[in-house]
Amino acid sequence: MFELICNVFLFVFLGYTYFTHVLEAKVPKSYLKNPNVLHPSVWPKAIIILLLICIAINIVKIIKKNKGNPDFTFKAFGKNSLEFLKSRMFIGMVVLVVASFILEPLGFVVTAALLMFAYGMLLGEKKWWRLAIVACVLAVLLHIAFSGLLGVSLPRGTVPFLRSFSLFLENLF
């Protein structure tokens, strides 16, 4: 059912995109005067049309394939969705999204340590203190290695003392 819902969503989204967002600015008149040039909307519109056809066929195929399947109902989908929301994979996704949000204000060192700790726990490490030490040491080492030694810019954070700490690490070597 998830596959079907995704396909239907994609179909509707592409249909909406076709009519509203293929071109988001006016094409210069000077460009359109030349009859030899390809209009900027032709290529994406052609792809969207082909996609709509293929997705429509795929939707029919999915429905035909699952005819009579007891799991192919909205009720079963709701149950599976609840299970997915409790799964470690979903929590992993949430951890990643949170990490991407805190990266700018807290900087790489703190985000990396928190990400490593949270994901390590999620993956089954039971000795949290060991994981916490490894996460902190690794985050600092990676920051020193990439930012300090290799010259790769990493976010220092906007919180003053965290920013100062990142700068301190970068200037160690």
Partner: protein, 519 residues
Amino acid sequence: MNLGEMFVSGLSAVWGGGTMFLMVVVAIVLGTIFGALPGVSATMAVALGLTFTYTMGPVPAIVFLTAIYCSSITGGSITAILFKIPGVPSSAPTTFDGYPMAQRGEAGKALGVALLASAVGGLFSALVMFLLATPLSKAALAFGNGDMFAITFLGLSILIVLDTEHILTTIISGLLGLLLACIGQDPMAGVARLTFGQTSLLSGMEMIPVLIGLFAVTEVLKQTNTKKRLSAEDGVGNKGKVNTKMPTMKELWSIKFTLLRCSIVGTVVGILPGAGATIASFMCYTMENKLSKYPEKFGTGIIDGIAASEASNNAATGGAMVPLLCLGIPGGNAAAVMASALALKGVQMGPRLLNVQPEFLSATFITMIVTNILMVIVAIGIAKVFAQILAVPYYYLGPIILLLATIGSFSEGNIVGVSVMVIAGIVGIIVKYMHLNSAAIVLGLVLGGMCEKYFSQAFQKAHIVTAQMGFGDYAAKVFESLFGSPISAIVMTACILLLLSPIYMPFVKKITGKNKPAA
């Protein structure tokens, strides 16, 4: 630049006063470790390797990434033999004979054959690349825009046909990739398309974070639901201690034709856009099984099976570099990541590379040779300690991959890159549940820009010109753009035949099946 000059230029680039040589060794170690880690594919290894190249110049970057690319394929054989877990998908056939040998206490011999076969395949393909690069680049200079479009399109068409069980979803995936490539400003008129009002999308999709997200983050997310610890198999009870005794000369001589055949086939498969090391290794394993005098022994632990798989998958890496550097068309996922990385460094991949930046071509060639030789020594060392390294559980390995992926996505100095990586990782999971093909999405994304540019230019140059074009004129102009020259006509016809093969092949099989005499 002739072949001799290319050779010397490549040697000086790779030696680089010793610093560059040391960097190659570091890249081989990293590549072998990345390749050997289960769940880290060659593509992911190159994507993670990118993190280290942001501050490098173009030549060191190409040398570093090439070394990682080649060695990661070889590294995959270590876990395939010791743990029955292919480090990279292309090493899957290595498990068929490698693991049974390890169980018999012949892990050392199996590893030795795998490493030597990898080196032979890699060296062969490097040589082919060296010999083919110049003539192919010269020939490609004569290609028109229509021809280049046709060749680029062939890459997508081949990919679709290779996954015959999921043709429709692969087509959808390829088209989605092409559509994603349209995001941003149109290449001809500079008009914003498909940005949904986001100014950060005006310059197009950020390729590197998307690739890192789709390959590295998605894989870690997939592994989140599994818990496993690995232990090496040496068959004699010495868990964690691996002897890397080399095979004898007599044994090597017995597989000489296997090595030769699989190196040739692997290189050819690698050159084909869309096909890659995984297809090469499966194809060669099956081929050797059919050609063998003792096919019943395949899968029971014989060196022929390991040699077939490893020679071909490494040969395919060199093969994939030919279309990437000479035509600007990546031969597979890992090559697509390389293409994005090299484009960032200002490398103009394609037929003009030989004239404008020949040092890149020669550096790649020499790196492949040096890597394939050094790799044998380095990989033996790594194999010896790998049993201990792999005791590192995934709850440390997974987060480390995520941290490297974050660094790689941020390295362009844009925090949006990290968000794009996370979104791409989650999309990768949805793609999996929708049974779409992420490889096709990536190839569509990488080739999309080129496809549109070449098609637009071919369309512009087509002869039919009318002030007010009707549908018929328009169609005729499109036809001329696609079939205007002999090369584009042949390649486009091949593409159409390939794309329509799922429709007509069942009929062909039915007819040929009926014509066969009854047994």
